[in-house]
Symmetry: C2
Subunit: 144 residues, 2 copies
């Protein structure tokens, strides 16, 4: 297993926990030099707050761990392509690398905010894509 | 004074409070049928959190006041043009109207996330523009 797969699997575990709590199953992990700074999952229903996406919680929590609000040099792993809100937060935090599982054609940043990340940030997509997507699909199938 | 000016003045009071706390002076107010649901200002330094913009705090707080996470029918007043992160949150919250004071050519949503709001949301810009801008300019002048 590569490091990317290992951390994405951790994010998937978070996403599964979200699904168990009836939340849209998205999980995120922030890593600095192989050290996990934060893990989080979507809490929009639990907190009754549209801003409580996995990435937002992970960014707030990682800054708390570090004692500084910028996350240069850190990598964000997230199971689904970030939305424009999260992409904006990722940009403000100056995250250096973003790794996501499956795309979100409907609300993803690539369509709505393609320049929101730091200009030097790199992006890797499709890590454990099928598993990330399957979790989302099974969640929405159950809700119908 | 129009209603828009009255609520923007309230947002300006929040922005002034931010300036007093050495925060970038941006304030926001959310209103539903003339009733103020929340007031907030930028707290990124105080909370050591890049996500703690005035609009984000105001959205979270208004949802708390209402006991529901969607803010349809509500108007957000904010002293400066929202960034892509806040624009994304405004979209998720389904805010119906956005009124902002001065533009932000460098980090504003119009450049970075022009389609982030709800498709039926309306936007009014330039309410008390000069006062909102002057507060920002005097803050950054002092910091130099």
């Amino acid at each position: 297993m590569t490091d990317d797969e290992r951390f994405m699997r951790m994010a998937l575990k978070e996403a599964e926990q979200a699904a168990n709590d009836n939340e849209i199953p998205i999980g995120a992990v922030i890593v600095s030099n192989g050290r996990v700074l934060s893990r989080a999952h979507n809490l929009t229903e639990t907190l009754c707050d549209v801003t409580a996406h996995a990435e937002m919680q992970a960014i707030t929590s990682a800054a708390n761990t570090l004692g500084g609000k910028y996350l240069q040099g850190c990598t964000l792993y997230v199971t689904v392509e970030p939305c424009p809100m999260c992409a904006g937060a990722i940009g403000w935090a100056q995250l250096s690398r973003i790794v996501y599982g499956c795309p979100d054609a409907k609300r993803g940043y690539r369509e709505y905010a393609p320049k929101a990340f730091h200009p030097k940030a790199t992006v890797t997509e499709g890590v454990l894509c099928e598993e990330c997507k399957a979790l989302m699909q099974s969640f929405f199938k159950k809700r119908r």
